[in-house]
C-alpha cells in the first residue's frame, strides 16, 4: 500500500489468490500473558482445515523490554544476503536501530525453503521536513517501501510489543521452527492454518497479515475483491499481495485507524444487514444502517468470510452477513476464544464457562479490561 505499482493495464494485474482456512484466537482480557501452547494445540486440532501451505501466529505483549520501539520482523527470501544489506542500509537511513538479531529457529525442524528472518527494534529517524508526519504513517510508508522495492525482503510485522511468525507449513510446524512454545508469551495469540489454491512456496503469503500492530487472519473468499480494491486505491492503498486478506486488512486500517470508526460500526459496513431486515428496524437504526450502506457500499465484503482482527487491547471476530463461514466464541474466566470450530476451543479449555455462535455480521469484540464480548453473546445463540 501507499506504493503504486504500475501495470500496462489492469489486465496485467496478477490474479488474486483464493484460499480458505482454519482460524483461532485467544485473549486474556486482564492482559495476563501466557505461552503459545493453547494456540498451537487448538490449531492442530483443526488441522484438516488447512493443507500445509501456510501457517502463522500473531502475538501481543511480546517484547516488554522494547515495548516503546517498533518491532520489525523481516524475512529475506532465499536467505538473500544482498537483500539483507540493502534493507539494513535503508533502515539505518530512516530509523535508529536499537537492537537487532536473527529470530532463533530450531535447526531440527526442516521446512520448505525457509528464509532468513530477523527482527529489528527501531525508532523513526525523521528529517526536518518529516517532523509533522505521525510516527505510524512514517513507519507504514517505510515498511511498504521495503516490501515493494527491495527484492526478496518482506516485513512480516511492524508494530510495537507484538510480532508475527509465519511461513510455509502446517502452523504447528511453524511454531516448532520458531520455537514459539517456550520462548514467547503474550496476552493475545491469533493463529491461522492456510488452505490456499495458489502456487505455494512463499513465506510472506502466509497469514497473519499485518500493518503496524494490526493483524488479520482470514478464512474465505471475498467475491467483491475487485470493487473493494479499486475503492481502496483512491485512499492510496495498493494491493501488492493480491489476496482477499490484504483488502480486508487495508479496509480495517482505513476505517478503524485512519477514520477512527469503532468495530461495531465497521462490522455493519463490511457485513451490512439485508435491506429486508433494515426495513423493520426502529427509525434511528434504519437511518444509520441505510446511510452506512449508501456511503460505504464499495467496502461491503461480499462472499464468504470469517476474520479475526487484533491490535493492542482488542481482538474481534466477524463473519459475512449470511454467515457462510463458521465462527465460534468461548469464554473461561479471563480468557476469551474465537475459533473456526468449537472443538478446537474445548480441546485446549475443556471446562468452558460460555460458548456461543454470533449471527452473521455480528462482531464478537474482545477488549482489554472490559466484558464487551458478552454483548455479542446476547444477540447470538
Amino acid at each position: 500500500m501507499l506504493m503504486k505499482k504500475n501495470y500496462r493495464s489492469e489486465r496485467h494485474v496478477p490474479a488474486k489468490d483464493i484460499e480458505a482456512c482454519g482460524l483461532f484466537g485467544v485473549m486474556n482480557i486482564r492482559g495476563q500473558k501466557f505461552g503459545a501452547l493453547m494456540a498451537i494445540e487448538a490449531i492442530k486440532n483443526i488441522k484438516v482445515r488447512g493443507n500445509g501451505l501456510g501457517g502463522g501466529f500473531a502475538v501481543y505483549g511480546l517484547y516488554p523490554d522494547y515495548k516503546d520501539y517498533y518491532a520489525l520482523h523481516i524475512m529475506f527470501q532465499n536467505k538473500d544476503i544482498k537483500a539483507k544489506e540493502k534493507t539494513e542500509d535503508f533502515l539505518g537511513e530512516h530509523f535508529e536501530i536499537i537492537f537487532d538479531e536473527e529470530i532463533p529457529t530450531n535447526p531440527q525442524v526442516s521446512l520448505f525453503c525457509p528464509p532468513l528472518v530477523r527482527r529489528y527494534f527501531v525508532a523513526p529517524k525523521k528529517g526536518e521536513a518529516e517532523q509533522a508526519i505521525p510516527d505510524d504513517e512514517y513507519v507504514t510508508s517505510r515498511v511498504m517501501y521495503i516490501n515493494t522495492n527491495i527484492e526478496d525482503a518482506y516485513v512480516f510485522s511492524s508494530g510495537k510489543d507484538m510480532g508475527v511468525f509465519k511461513g510455509v507449513g502446517f502452523p504447528e510446524e511453524i511454531a516448532a521452527y520458531f520455537m514459539l512454545d517456550g520462548l514467547y508469551e503474550g496476552y493475545i495469540w491469533t493463529v491461522h492454518s492456510r488452505f490456499p489454491t495458489n502456487t505455494p512456496g512463499w513465506w510472506g503469503g502466509a497469514h497473519p497479515f499485518s500493518i503496524l500492530d494490526w493483524t488479520v487472519v482470514h478464512n474465505g473468499e471475498i467475491s467483491s475483491y475487485g470493487t473493494n480494491r479499486r475503492f481502496l486505491e483512491m485512499y492510496d492503498y495498493y494491493c501488492t499481495l493480491h489476496t482477499d486478506t490484504e483488502v480486508m486488512a487495508y479496509a480495517v486500517d482505513l476505517l478503524m485507524r485512519r477514520q477512527g470508526l469503532p468495530i461495531e460500526i465497521v462490522a455493519k459496513i463490511f457485513a451490512p444487514s439485508m435491506w429486508d431486515i433494515i426495513e423493520h428496524l426502529p427509525e434511528k437504526e434504519k437511518k444509520l444502517y441505510t446511510t452506512l450502506r449508501m456511503v460505504y457500499a464499495p467496502l461491503l465484503m461480499n462472499g464468504p468470510f470469517t476474520v479475526i482482527v487484533a491490535h493492542h487491547h482488542e481482538m474481534f471476530g466477524l463473519t459475512d452477513r449470511i454467515r457462510l463461514r463458521p465462527i465460534t466464541a468461548g469464554a473461561k474466566d479471563d480468557l476469551v476464544f474465537l475459533s473456526s470450530e468449537e472443538a478446537a476451543i474445548r480441546y485446549v479449555c475443556p471446562d468452558l464457562d460460555l460458548v456461543w455462535t454470533p449471527q452473521g455480521g455480528e462482531p464478537v469484540v474482545v477488549r482489554l479490561n472490559s466484558e464487551d464480548h458478552l454483548k455479542s453473546l446476547n444477540k447470538s445463540i
Binding site: 512456496g201 474445548r346 455462535t357 452473521g360 445463540i381
Partner: protein, 283 residues
C-alpha cells in the same frame, strides 16, 4: 516468488500419518457387546477405522470419550449385514458431519455437536445433549434428530421425504437464519424453550424456498421473519398428534415435562406451493 527449483507437492492433512488399526488397540476396550474407545489424539480416520473394526467384531454399544472435533462419526458404519444397529455414545464434542449418511445407527452426544450434524442422513437417530452448529440435518431423508439447545444457520435445509420415509428434527432451543430453507419434506419442530416470554425466535428467512414438509414452531415469530414461500396455519388434530408424539420423545431424552411444553402456542408453517419456482420461466 520462490525462485528455487523445488516443488511443494501435496500434503494430505487427512491421511498423512494415519496409523493402522493394529497400532491403536490400546484406545479400545471391549467387553462382550460393549466397547469403550478413548478418542484422545486420534485422527478422523483413525477413530472411524476403530469404530468400524469394533462394529465388525459384533459390538453393538460403544462409548467414545475424549472426542474433540473428530469428524464423520457413524459415517463409515454402512454395514448392511450387521445383525443389529449400533448405539454410540459420544462426549464431549464430536466434529463436523456427525452421522453424515448415517445408516440406521443411534448416536448420542453428551455435549455439543458442530456443523453438518446428520448431513444427508438416511436413517437412525442422533440425540444431542447440547447445541449443534450450521446446516444441521441438511438433506436428511430419514430418521430422527433431537437437539436439546440451539442450532446455527440453515438447519433442516433441503430435508426431504418420500413414501413413508419421513425424517424428523426436533430442536429445544432456537435457530439462526435460513431455518428450513429449501425444505422438500420431513417434520421440523422448533420449541424455543430457552426464549424468554414474548421473545421472538431469532431466525430470519425461515422456510425460504420451502416446497414440502412442515415446520411446527412454538413461540413468537413475526411475519417478516418468514420466507415468502411459506404460509402460517393453525394446527389440526393430526398435527397435535404428531407434535405431541415428538415432544414427548424429546422430553424423555432430555428430562422436560411435555405437558408444559405443549401448553404454549404452536404454529404450523407450510409451503404455499410444491412448485415455488414454476412460474419464473418464459418457455
Amino acid at each position: 516468488m520462490n525462485n528455487l527449483n523445488v516443488k511443494f507437492g501435496l500434503r494430505n492433512m487427512f491421511l498423512d500419518g494415519v496409523r493402522p488399526v493394529s497400532e491403536l488397540v490400546q484406545h479400545v476396550n471391549t467387553n462382550g457387546s460393549n466397547a469403550y474407545i478413548d478418542a484422545l489424539g486420534l485422527k478422523h480416520k483413525e477413530l472411524n477405522d476403530l469404530l468400524r473394526e469394533t462394529a465388525l467384531k459384533g459390538v453393538t454399544s460403544i462409548t467414545v470419550q475424549n472426542v474433540f472435533g473428530q469428524r464423520y462419526i457413524g459415517t463409515r458404519l454402512y454395514l448392511p449385514n450387521l445383525a443389529k444397529k449400533m448405539e454410540i455414545k459420544i462426549a464431549p464434542n464430536p466434529g463436523n458431519d456427525l452421522g453424515a449418511f448415517l445408516n440406521g445407527h443411534r448416536l448420542i452426544v453428551y455435549g455439543n455437536a458442530q456443523d453438518g450434524a446428520g448431513n444427508t442422513m438416511d436413517d437412525g437417530e442422533i440425540i444431542i445433549h447440547g447445541r449443534a452448529g450450521d446446516i444441521v440435518a441438511m438433506s436428511m431423508r430419514g430418521g430422527k434428530i433431537f437437539i436439546r439447545d440451539n442450532v446455527g444457520y440453515r438447519a433442516a435445509i433441503h430435508m426431504k421425504e418420500y413414501t413413508g420415509k419421513v425424517p424428523a428434527l426436533v430442536i429445544g432451543g432456537t435457530a439462526q437464519d435460513f431455518f428450513g430453507e429449501y425444505m422438500a419434506g420431513g417434520r421440523v419442530i422448533l420449541l424455543g424453550l430457552n426464549l424468554s416470554k414474548n421473545e421472538r425466535h431469532k431466525a430470519h428467512y425461515i422456510g425460504t424456498g420451502m416446497h414440502g414438509g412442515v415446520i411446527y414452531l412454538r413461540g413468537r415469530v413475526e411475519e417478516y421473519q418468514l420466507g415468502k414461500e411459506v404460509g402460517i396455519r393453525a394446527l389440526d388434530s393430526h398435527d397435535w398428534e404428531i407434535v405431541g408424539q415428538y415432544v414427548s420423545e424429546f422430553s424423555s431424552h432430555f428430562g422436560f415435562d411435555p405437558a408444559e411444553i405443549l401448553q404454549e402456542k404452536f404454529q404450523k408453517l407450510l409451503p404455499v406451493s410444491t412448485r415455488p419456482y414454476g412460474k419464473i420461466y418464459a418457455y
